[in-house]
Symmetry: C2
Subunit: 446 residues, 2 copies
């Protein structure tokens, strides 16, 4: 019986076979020169901006990826690799440089989140893991910040672990949601490993396991008088709220943390609930809502005046339901000093090692320029060197700092792009020199 966890020991093999067959040929042909790869996303359907996330995980992987003897034995058994190449893999290390945009920074189409410069084989082998780590992190951080952008003064909690696509997605979703302005997660392990605040009280099964809703409330209030959020919709929501109020009164508790609604007509029920709580004198008791939420439903409810204080956002956040993948790519842009680009229809890429420069007007992003890395262009350069020769050379910020950066970045987005439903997009400018290079390469390819 096998679970098949990925961990520090076996993660080197979490790669596509073609990375290794290509590497074998590079090895055969002595192609060990420096290669530069860009990781970026193309224009997306429902997103006006993307939030960088996942870099810390990527750096942790790059610093420690190794091929164990067991890995080498397996590769040997596939019959696809030469013994001298397998010998090379035994001492494989990532020795390259990494330029990346800070986590929490907002990017637009075609701007590289990460730029890898390393001997060709190394830069190639790490491709699969890099995309696997970064894409889901960016997806959830972006979805989370969209929720944050409409949540006004209310709080958002990640409830998505169960519906995340596997264990690792659950961890990354909790971390990314926090980056995107959430106040915490239901995921206990993420709470422990990433030091994120954890939230949670009770499920419907808890109510049903008791013979009456009343007893269920009573028992919970007894154990958690200070953290008593009662789930009131198992039988009848309005009756449930009244019962919750009675329970709290009978227990003699001074403070009532609040109730959770998970079904039904949330607008009407939240208003009815607020009335009952207020009339009972529990003006501080909060209304926590969950169940199929996303940025669209949160906005709609708040716009209509639903008196909701906090949200548990689950499935649609962690699978990024309306956009479950990015049109992202990790593309070779330079090899051995020679800029390269792909000409496949609809998949044109920008060649050469790059830098992105950002300028602001009145506190808002006014222009991004994608330029060659050694160009001098107005604005703040977004790519910073995080790794040199396989070692991380910048101090990594705390998750709090990253979260603040994301929120600060949100403020800098032009208002028209902040709308959660709009066809408007922000198009980065390509610098003259880079545009000229593209034209030259196009011509010489004919």
């Amino acid at each position: 019986m096998k679970y098949g966890f990925v961990n520090e020991e076996n993660m080197s093999l979490l790669t596509d076979l073609y990375e290794l067959t290509m590497a074998q040929v590079y090895f055969d042909e002595g192609m060990h020169h420096l290669a530069t790869f860009d990781f970026f996303a193309r224009r997306s359907k429902h997103r006006t901006y993307l939030v960088s996330a996942g870099l810390e995980q990527l750096l942790a992987y790059l610093e420690s990826v190794r091929f164990t003897r067991e890995d080498i034995d397996y590769l040997n058994r596939t019959g696809r690799f030469s013994s001298d190449f397998l010998d090379y893999l035994k001492t494989f290390r990532f020795t390259g440089d990494v330029y990346a945009v800070d986590e929490g920074e907002i990017l637009f189409e075609n701007e590289p989140f990460v730029q890898i410069e390393a001997p060709l084989i190394e830069a190639q082998i790490i491709e699969t893991f890099l995309i696997n780590t970064m894409q889901i992190s960016i997806l959830v951080a972006t979805k989370a910040l969209r929720c944050y952008s409409v949540a006004q003064e209310t709080g958002l909690v990640d409830f998505g672990l169960r519906r995340a696509h596997g264990t690792d997605a659950g961890m990354k979703a909790a971390r990314s949601a926090y980056i995107g302005g959430f106040i915490g997660t239901s995921n206990v392990l993420a709470g422990k490993l990433f030091d994120i605040p954890v939230f949670g009280t009770m499920a419907h099964s808890y109510i049903l396991a008791h013979e009456t809703e009343e007893k269920a409330f009573e028992h919970f209030a007894r154990r958690y008088p200070d953290n008593c959020i009662l789930l009131v919709d198992t039988y009848d929501t309005v009756e449930g709220v009244k019962r919750a109020v009675e329970t709290i009164r009978r227990s003699g508790m001074k403070r009532f943390k609040g109730v959770r609604l998970d079904s039904g007509d949330i607008l009407a029920l939240s208003k009815a609930t607020r009335r009952i709580l207020d009339e009972a004198g529990f003006r501080d008791a909060m209304i926590f809502v969950s169940g199929g939420l996303n940025e669209y439903t949160i906005k709609r409810l708040l716009d209509k005046g639903a008196p909701i204080d906090a949200w548990g956002v689950g499935t649609k956040l962690v699978v990024s339901a309306d956009e479950p993948y990015l049109d992202c790519a990790y593309k070779l842009v330079e090899y051995d000093g020679r800029p390269v680009m792909k000409f496949s229809p609809g998949k044109l890429t920008l060649p050469a090692k790059k830098q992105v420069f950002r300028t602001y007007r009145d506190g808002k992003i006014s222009k991004d320029t994608i330029a060659l890395h050694d160009e001098r262009v107005d604005g703040r350069p977004l790519l910073r060197q995080y790794m040199s020769e396989g070692k991380t050379v910048l101090p990594l910020p705390s998750l709090e700092t990253i979260r603040e950066r994301a929120i600060e970045n949100l403020r800098q987005i032009p208002d028209s792009l902040k709308a959660i439903e709009t066809d408007e997009r922000f198009t980065p400018t390509v610098s003259e020199r880079l545009a000229h290079l593209v034209e030259t390469m196009k011509k010489s390819s004919h």
Copy 2:
């Protein structure tokens, strides 16, 4: 710097906080009786059937889940748990029974994939991990079998690792795709750990790293004469195919495995490619297609006569793009011998411990009956006892066997439900006794 992998050591904390706060109260109140929970999915938008998958992973988790000292220390630091409850967690084991449908079996709405019967706390704590493991496995196995159902005699390979939502999703996707009739994966670690055939040759970066396409082809053919699938669309597909043919000829190879197309008008290009290959005498050379594929595009291309031999299906398979989550739930249906059900609007559940019986007519599934577990109903019972008192008691089938079962099940689906686009759904019958129980419980709740 922290990756935050989930592994055998820390997986107990990969749970929602509320599972543990509920458990604390159950512990306080001495609620240690047997509970039965169903894991099932409600009617889905784009799926007429679901393929069971992920059970082996679930059983592996249930057999080995433990709270380490470090876990307990963390829980203690949250200030939410009593010391006697934390002592209980120190020796926590899952000691329950598991009834489940075989992996590879096809199920319909409201039929339980898994039924857990265990002391309440145990059955509650495992909820999050169970759903996290099963949902993505079912999603991908189902999506894969849908691709298989339209692929006719062509082969399907999982290319999705990079776009899967994190490391664990990549592993589960490879395993589930294989269950759903795929012939293999690009994921090397899945190849190693699950003994799945691995596939892969080269990327566009490989072509671009060489000064000419010709040299790139030549080098690859030299190393892999027997497994030489050349990617021909980096510059111009038709020219690429001609160049591939010349390379193979010049190398003196007798056999040419084939070419891969990854962009452009695939219908026209595959026909042009076939012509060039045939005219060059390489009638056995295959055409392998990749790039944004799913069951809809595969069907469309084959219906139009595209001469394609195999497919690399990636992103849209592994994130189940048109249906990235199931409306699935893990619901308490019985506690201490008392059947229970939830009355929240639109979320009615079927109470009590169950069995599902399936009958066939002319080799096709004709009727499913959801019944009480001790009823005698016509048909084959689908739920089998896989675990007794925390120990797996059935031999687990090989992945090959599971794959054959899924393919056999596909043959048994009524043709109208096999269509990949249809509003038709198969509704299981609820047995008279179960229907009667639901009615009785509804009445007594008023």
